[in-house]
Structures are given as C-alpha cells and as structure tokens.
Symmetry: C2
Subunit: 119 residues, 2 copies
C-alpha cells in the first residue's frame, strides 16, 4: 500500500501509445501513457474509458465532433463509441478502465499492446 507519484512514474518511460499500469482496484486498472501524434480509430465494446490529462492537451476525435481535454480535465468515453486520440504535442494521460481493456479496442494495429507492464 504505497503512494504513487505521477511525475516520478512518467519519468520511467518515454515511448508513446504504450500504457503502463500503476494501480489496480475493483477490477479496474489505473494506467499512465504518453501520447504524441495520431492514434487509430477504435472502440471498446464493453468498457467505458476515462482519460485524465496530467500534462499537455489531448484531442479526441469522434465521428461527429472533436473534443479538447486540457490539463486537469477528464473525459469518459462510453463503451461502443468510436474515437481516435490525437496529440499535436506530447501529452501525459492517466487512464482509468477495466483491466481487460485493449488499447486499440476492436482495431488490431501495430500500436496494439496485448500485454502491459507495471511500473
């Protein structure tokens, strides 16, 4: 039962689009990720997904609009909704989602991470 310092954890990795697990509770994972550039369009059929922006600006494209999430803000993307994260500049994100969630959801791509590391 240790405290987790987000800044310290973000110093431990540099690769983009590769979430790291930093906590687990009630079957949900807390993950940290660095994003830069454009991700792939995807959806999660059974999992809602929360993006909390720790540093930077995240945009998430939906089929009908684009939402901007600034530092200190979060958005919850409901299951089944197609979305594409876009980071024009590097952004640090804390994710909250079921432990079963695959980063690219229903879209297999070279960005898909089948196994995530704890840091």
């Amino acid at each position: 039962m240790n405290t987790v310092n987000l800044k310290e954890k973000f110093c431990l990795f540099s690769e983009y689009w590769s979430p790291k697990i930093v906590g687990e509770l009630n079957g949900q994972n807390v993950k940290l990720a660095k994003f830069k550039g454009e991700f792939v369009w995807h959806k999660h059929d059974n999992e809602d997904e929360m993006f909390f922006v720790v540093d930077g600006i995240l945009k998430i494209e939906f089929r009908d609009k684009t939402v901007t999430i600034n530092e200190g803000e979060f958005i919850i993307v409901p299951k089944g909704i197609e979305h594409k994260p876009v980071a024009e500049q590097e952004v640090f994100v804390m994710l909250f989602e079921p432990a079963t969630t695959l980063n690219t959801g229903n879209t297999e791509s070279n960005l898909t991470k089948h196994k995530l590391d704890w840091i």
Copy 2:
C-alpha cells in the same frame, strides 16, 4: 460526453467530507471531495478505494502506520483495511470507487452520506 474540469468543479461546493459525483464508468464513480480535520475510522468490506490528491496534503492513518499523500500522488486502500483520512489543512481529493461505496464504510456517524449529489 463532456469534459470535466476539476478546478471548476471544486469551486461548486465548500463543505468538507461530502463527496460529489463527477463521473461514472463501469460501475465506478469518480468523486471530488474537500477534506479538513479528522475523519472517522472505517473500512469498506467489498470496495477498494483510490485517493488522488489534487491540491494539498492528505494523511491516511492505518492501524500500523500513517501514509502521507502529496499533490499529484495517489494511494489505493484495499477492501477490508481500516483507515482514517486526516487533513491538517484543507485538501482537494479525487476519489475512484464503486458507485455503491458509502463514505464512512462500516462506521455509521454524523459524517455518513447516504446520498451523494452529482455536480
């Protein structure tokens, strides 16, 4: 599917030990709370609970130690573990826990909140 700005939400209430719901995903709630002073000893038999400190310093007393959680840090208190949050100064906290979680767990007190408001 709106963004939630933590600073704006924290401006909407002032009472201590009275969590407000700001999000729901996968049966879990995202809550914001302001703490000051000492809470009551309690535990949650079936729910792990995450405390993320947004502003200030939170201490959580356990039966065998006290843990300090600074701004930008979180701790996950596993189900069944007795704990008592203490805030020597005002602290702003984001909580993640199942929607069913009662703030005082197994300890009924005048701080117990049976119904939480969305803000």
